[in-house]
Symmetry: D2
Subunit: 425 residues, 4 copies
C-alpha cells in the first residue's frame, strides 16, 4: 500500500532540504523531482535543456557543474536525466493534457542559497536530522517546499476533473535572478492563458494566503573587475595601481548612493575577492552586487549611479575596470481576475485571505519575467503567497517553514487551476 501523498511530499521536501543545490547545479534536485513525478500520469515531462531556450543560461564554472553531476550520479540520479542537465540546463516541466480548456502554468522554483545552515537544537531541520549536509549552502528560502508543492499539484490535478492543459514548471536559478529568462525563450509559455506562481513564508502565519503579491522590487545584478598594476609592497609600493583600494573605495561609496524620493531602492555588494599575496600590491579585484528599485526606472537610475561610482573609484586608483550587468528582473503586477479566483479557492479551503501589504516586502523575483511574458501574450498572471510561520527571516541560517503549508498550498493551487478551467464549477 502506498503511503499517503502528503507524507510523501514532506519526505520529498526534507530530502531536498538535506541536499540543497545552487542555481544551474540543481542536478540531484531535478533528478529527485523527476523520480517523484513518475507516480503521476503525465503526458509530457521536459527535463533540463528541453525546458530552456538555446544558449540562454549562465551557469557557473565547469568544475562546479562537474562536482554537481558527480554528486548526483553518486546519489543514484539516472544517467539519462544527467545527460539532459549537461552544461547546467537544470529544472523540469511536467505537462498534463486533459481536454480542450485553457492552458495553466504553475511555477515553482527549486534552488538553494550559498549559506551555512544553523545546527542549533531549536532549528527544526537540525533537530530532526534533515539539515543541509553541506557546509556552504542551504534551503533558506523555502524552495524545497516549493518543489514538493509542484509535485503535489501535478498529482492532484491529474486525479481531478480538470479539463485543460496544466504545465508545472520546476524553475532553476531563481536566487540568481537568472532561471526565468531562458524559460521565456523556450516557447513553453507561448500558449499559457494563466500563470500561478507561488511562494511560502513571507513572514506570514500558516493558514494565511496572499493572492496578489506584486510589490517585488525590480533587480539587476552587476559584476566589476578592477585591473591595476602589481608591485612589490615593500620595495616599490608607488609603482602599483592598487585594485583592492579601488574596490574598497567603490564599496564604501556604492552604499552611500543617495536614497531616492521616488520609492524604495536597495544596493548591495555581496561578494568580493582580490589579490594574490600579502606582499604584492593587488593587480586585480572583483566585486559582485545588485541594485533594486520599486520601479524599473528606479533600478535603472541606481544602476547608472553605481556604474559611475565604480568607474570613478577605479580611476581614483589608476585602475581600469570592467563593469558587466548580470541578469535581473523587472517589476510586475497581478491580474485582478486571477487574484479573485485564487482568493476564492483559498477561502474555500478555510484560509485567511489577506491582501499584500507592500511595506512588508522588499524582495525580488524573476517570476516577474514569466508574468510579463504571459501578460504580453494576452494571458493573466498572479503570484500567491502562502504563510508558513517561518521562525526567522528569509535568507537566514535558521529559516524554516511549517510543513503544514505544503498540503494547504497543494489544495488551494489545485482548486484554483480547476476553477480557471471551469469558472462555473
Amino acid at each position: 500500500m502506498r503511503s499517503d501523498p502528503h507524507s510523501r511530499l514532506i519526505e520529498l521536501r526534507r530530502d531536498l532540504h538535506r541536499r540543497p543545490e545552487l542555481g544551474w547545479c540543481e542536478f540531484y534536485t531535478t533528478g529527485r523531482i523527476v523520480d517523484a513525478l513518475h507516480e503521476v500520469d503525465l503526458d509530457e515531462l521536459y527535463v533540463g535543456s528541453d525546458v530552456h531556450g538555446d544558449d540562454q543560461i549562465r551557469p557557473p564554472t565547469d568544475a562546479a557543474l562537474d562536482r554537481a553531476a558527480d554528486r548526483a550520479r553518486a546519489l543514484g540520479v539516472d544517467e539519462a536525466v544527467l545527460t539532459k542537465l549537461e552544461d547546467g540546463y537544470s529544472g523540469a516541466l511536467a505537462v498534463l493534457e486533459r481536454g480542450p480548456g485553457p492552458t495553466v502554468l504553475v511555477r515553482v522554483d527549486i534552488d538553494g542559497l550559498p549559506q551555512r545552515e544553523s545546527g542549533d537544537d531549536d532549528h527544526d531541520p537540525a533537530a530532526n536530522g534533515f539539515a543541509s549536509v553541506y557546509d556552504d549552502r542551504m534551503h533558506a528560502c523555502g524552495h524545497d517546499a516549493h518543489a514538493a508543492i509542484g509535485v503535489g499539484v501535478a498529482g492532484a490535478v491529474a486525479a481531478s476533473e480538470f479539463a485543460g492543459t496544466l504545465k508545472v514548471l520546476f524553475q532553476p536559478a531563481e536566487e540568481l535572478g537568472a532561471g526565468a529568462a531562458s524559460v521565456v525563450e523556450s516557447g513553453h509559455l507561448d500558449d499559457v492563458d494563466a500563470l500561478v506562481a507561488i511562494h511560502v513564508g513571507l513572514d506570514a502565519e500558516t493558514g494565511t494566503v496572499i493572492p496578489d503579491v506584486d510589490s517585488f522590487l525590480a533587480i539587476r545584478g552587476f559584476e566589476a573587475t578592477f585591473e591595476g598594476a602589481s608591485a612589490h609592497a615593500g620595495i616599490a609600493p608607488q609603482e602599483g595601481s592598487n585594485a583592492i583600494q579601488a574596490l574598497s573605495t567603490a564599496v564604501s561609496n556604492l552604499y552611500a548612493i543617495a536614497r531616492h524620493a521616488d520609492g524604495k531602492t536597495r544596493i548591495n555588494v555581496g561578494e568580493i575577492a582580490g589579490g594574490t599575496a600579502s606582499n604584492i600590491v593587488a593587480e586585480s579585484a572583483t566585486l559582485r552586487g545588485e541594485v533594486r528599485g520599486s520601479t524599473t526606472a528606479l533600478r535603472e537610475s541606481l544602476e547608472e549611479r553605481a556604474r559611475s561610482v565604480i568607474e570613478s573609484a577605479a580611476s581614483l586608483h589608476d585602475c581600469a575596470v570592467d563593469v558587466s550587468s548580470l541578469t535581473g528582473a523587472p517589476s510586475a503586477t497581478c491580474d485582478e481576475r486571477l487574484v479573485e479566483t485564487v482568493a476564492d479557492a483559498a477561502r474555500e479551503r478555510g484560509a485567511d485571505v489577506v491582501p499584500e501589504d507592500g511595506a512588508a516586502l522588499g524582495g525580488s523575483e524573476d517570476a516577474t519575467r514569466l508574468m510579463r511574458a504571459v501578460q504580453r501574450a494576452g494571458g493573466v498572471a498572479t503570484y500567491v503567497g502562502f504563510g508558513a510561520s517561518n521562525p526567522t527571516g528569509h535568507h537566514t541560517a535558521t529559516f524554516d517553514v511549517d510543513e503544514a503549508v505544503i498540503p494547504l498550498a497543494v489544495d488551494v493551487v489545485t482548486d484554483a487551476v480547476c476553477a480557471i478551467a471551469d469558472p462555473a464549477a
Copy 2:
C-alpha cells in the same frame, strides 16, 4: 661525458623556473634539488621534516599540499623524498664535513610567488620556453637561481681544499616570511660560526657584488576576519551587519595610517575575500596584509595602529573581528669582518664591490631570523647581493635574471667559504 657544471646549474635553474611552487609546497623543487645533489659527495643530506623544528611550520590547506604532492609524484619525485615532505615540511640541508675548521652555513631560498608570468616575446623565459607552466605562480624573485647557486656551492666546496663543516640550506617559504623560523628551532644553526645568505638581482648590474645588505625592513603579516550578520539585501538590509563594508572601511584607512618621521614604513592589504552571493548582506570577509618598518620598533608601532584601525572598522559596522599576526621577520645587521671576507673574494673574482645603498631597498627577508640566531650564539653573518641585470623589478611579471650571475655567485661564495675556514689562504 658529463656536461660542464655551469651548464647543469643553468639547466636546473630553468627547470625550476618552469615549475615554481609556493611556500611549503616546494615538493618538486626539493625533489629536483635532492636529485642534483646526488652528484655531490655529501656527508649528510637532511630533507623536509628533518630540516625543521617540530610543529613550527604553517602550511596551506591539505588540498593544496595534496595537489603539490601529486604533481611532484607525476613528475618523478621519489616517494621516499615525498614522505619526508608530508604536511609541508619542504626544503633541504646539505652537509659537508671536511675537517676541524669552522662551521659555515650558506643559505638560499627556493619558493616562487603567486603571480602570472609574462608571455611576451621580449621576456627571456617565454622566448626560450622555460616560462612558468602554471597560470598562477612564477619565480619572480630569482629563487630558482638561488637553488642552482646553492647546489653549485655544495659541489665546488666539496671539490676544494675546504677544511671545516659546510651546511647549505635550501630554505622554503621565504616569500611567506615563514620558512626561517622553523629552521631556527631545528638545532642545525647551533654550531654555525658564519652565515652567508645571498640574493640575486636587487636592480644591480651583473658583475656587481653588494657584500653587506642589511637595510631590510622588519615585517609582520596579519590576517583579519570580520564577522557580521547576514540579511536579505532586498527584504531587510537593516538587519545585516555588513562584513564587506567593514573590510572596505578598514582597507581605506589602513593605507591612510600616517607616515612616520622615524623611518620607512610600509603597509599593504594584498588579499581580500568575502561574502557568498550578491543578494545576501555579507556575514564574513577576510583580508591579509603586512606592515614593514626600517626598525622593529617602527613595524610594531604600525602593527599596533593597523590592529586599532581594523577593530574600529569592525565596530563601525557592528561586526566582530579576529586579527591574527602572521610570521614576520626582524631587521638585522651584517658583521663587518665577514663583509670584508666576502668583499675580498668578490674583488678577487673581478667583481665590482659596492656598499649597500639603503635607499634602493625596501624589501624584507626572513634570513634576518637566521642571522640573528647565529649572532646570538656568537657567530657572524652577512647577506650578499649579486647584481643580475634584471630587466624589471622584483615581483613583476617580467622579472628575470642574467644567468651569468650563477657561476659568479658560486665562485665568490665558494671562495668566501674557504677563506672563512682558512683566513690566511
Copy 3:
C-alpha cells in the same frame, strides 16, 4: 485711499523675499509683520519673547544676533520691537477675541534658508527686482508668502462674522526644526481647539489644495565635534590624531548606513568645518547633520546607528568625539473632521482638492510638534498644502511661488476658520 489688501500682501511678500533672515534672526521680518498687523484691529499682539516659553530657544552666536538687530534697526524697525526680540526670541502671535466660540490657531512660519538665490533672468524675483539682497540666504521654501498669508487671514477674519478666538502664529526657525518647541512651552496652545498649519508649493499647481498633509518625516539634527591631537604635518605626522580623517571616515559611512525595510529614511551631513592650517594635523573638526524617518521609530533607529558610526570613526583615528542631538520633530497625523472642514472651504472657493500623495513628499516640519500638542490637549489639527506652481523644487536657488496662491490661501483659511466656529454656517 488705501491700496487693495491683496496688493499689499504681495508687496509684503516681496519685501520679505528681498530680506530673508535665518532662524532666530527674523528681526526685520518680525518688525515688518508687526507693522503690517497695525492695520488689523487686533485684541492682542505678542512679540518675540512673549511668544516663547522661557529659555527654550537655541539662537546662533551673539555676533549673528547683533548683526541682525543692527540691520533691522537700520531698516527702521521700532526699538520697542527689537527689545522684545533680544537674544533671538523672534516671531509674533496675533490674537482676535470675537466671542464665545472655539479657539482656532493658524500657524505660518517665517524664516529663510542659508542659500544663494539665482540671479537668472528667468527667475521671477530676479527679473522683477525682489531677489534676496544677501549673497548667503534666500526664501527658498515660500515662508515669505506664508507671512503674507498669515497677515491676510488676520485681517480677513477680523472683518468677518467670526465668533470665537483666532490666534495667528508667525513662527520663527522652522528650517532649524527648532521654532515650534518653545511655542509649545509658552502656554499659547493650551486653549486651542483647532490648529490649521499651512504650506505653499509642494510641487502642486496653483488652485490645488491638499487638506491633509501628514506624511512628514520625523527628523532630528545632530552635531559631532571630533577632538584629536595636532602635530607638525612634516616633522611628526605620526604624532597627530587626525580629526579631519575621523570626520571624513564618519561622513563616508554615515551615508552608507543601510536602507531600512520599514519605511523611508534619510541622512545628511550638511555642514563641515575643521583644522587651522595646511601644515598642522587637524586637532578638531565638526560636522552637522540630520536623520529622518517616516516614523519616529525609524528616525530613532537611524539616529542610533549614526551615533555609533561617528563614535567608531573617531575611535578609528584615535580621536574623542562629542555627539549632541539637536532639536527635531516627530511625525503627526491630521484629524479627519478638520480635514473635511478645510476641504469643503477649498471646494467652495473653486479649488481642486486632492488627497495627499505621500510618495511626493519627504520633508519634515516642526509644525508636527504643535499638532501633537494640540491633539494631546484634546483639540484637532491639520496641515494644509496650497499648490503654487513652483518652477523648481523647494530649497533650490530658483524656487519661487505663483503669488496667486496668496489670496486663495487667505480665502480658504479664513472660511475654514469661520466654519470651525460655526459649523452650521
Copy 4:
C-alpha cells in the same frame, strides 16, 4: 642707564610671543621690530612694501588685514609704518653699509601659527605671563626668538669692526611657505654674497649648533573646491551632487596615497569647510592641504597623484572641482665653505657643533627659495640650527625655547658675519 642688550632682546621676544600674528598680518610684529631697530645705527631700513617685489604676495582677506591693522594701531604702531604694510606687505629689511667687503644677508622669519597656546602652569610662557593673548594663534615655532636674534645681530654687527654690507631680513609668512618668494623678486638679494638663515629649536639642546641644516622637504600647498548641486535632504536627496561626500572621499584617499621608495613623502589636509545647513545637500566644500617630499621630484610626483585623487573623488560624486597649487618651497643644499665658517664661529663660542642628522627632520622652509636665489647668482648659503632645549615638538601647544639661545645665536651669527667679511681675522 640703558638695560643690557640681552635683557632687551628677551623682553622683545616675550612681547612678540604675547602677540603672535599670522602670515602677511605681522603688523604689530613689524612695528615692534622697527621700534627696536631705532637703537641701531642703520644705514637703511626698508619696511613692508619696500621689502617685496610687486604683486607677489598672497595675503588673506581684507577683513583680516583690517583687523590686524586696527590692533596694531591700538597698540601704538606708527601710522607711517602701517601705511607701508597696507595690503599685507609685512616684514622689514635692515641694512648696514660699513665698507667695501662682501654683502651678507642674515634671514629670520617672524610669523606665528594658527594654534591655541597651552595655559598649563608648566608651560613657561603661561607661568610667566607672556603666553599668547589670542585664543587662536601662537608662536609655536620660535619665530619670536628669531626676530629678537635678528635685532641683536644688527646691533652687534653695527658695534663691530665689520667691513662690508649686512642685510638683516625679517621675513613674513614663512609658515605659509609664501614670504620668501616675493623677497626674491625684490632685488634685495641680487648683490648678496653669503646668506645665513637660522632656526632655533629642532629638538636639540641649548648650546648645540647645527651649521648645515639642509634636509628640508620640498613642499607645495594646494586648495581644492568641490562644486556639486544642492538639494533638499529630505524631499529629493537624489537630486543633489554632494560636495561634502566628494571632499570626504578625497581626504580618505589622499592620506592613502602609496608611500614612495625613493624617499620621504608627506601629505596632509589641514583645513576643511563646506555646506550651509544640515537639511541641504552641500553644494560646495573646500579643503586645503600640502604635499612634501625629500626631493622636488618626489613632491611633484605626490602632487600629481593628489590632483588625480581629488579629481576622481569629485567625479565619483558628480561634482566639479577646482584644484589650485599654492606657493611652496624647493629643497636646497648648504655650501661647505660657509658651513665651516659658521662651525668655527660656533666652536669659538663654546658651542657643541654637530652635523645635521637628516633623519631627525621632516620640515620645510621657504628659506630654500632664498638659498637657491643667492646660489644661482654665485653666492653661498647655509641654514643654521641653534638648539634651544624645547620641551615639546614644534607646532605644539606647549612648544617653547630656552631663552639662553638668543645671546648665543646673536654671538655666533655676528662672529660668522664678521668672519665672512674678513676670513683672516
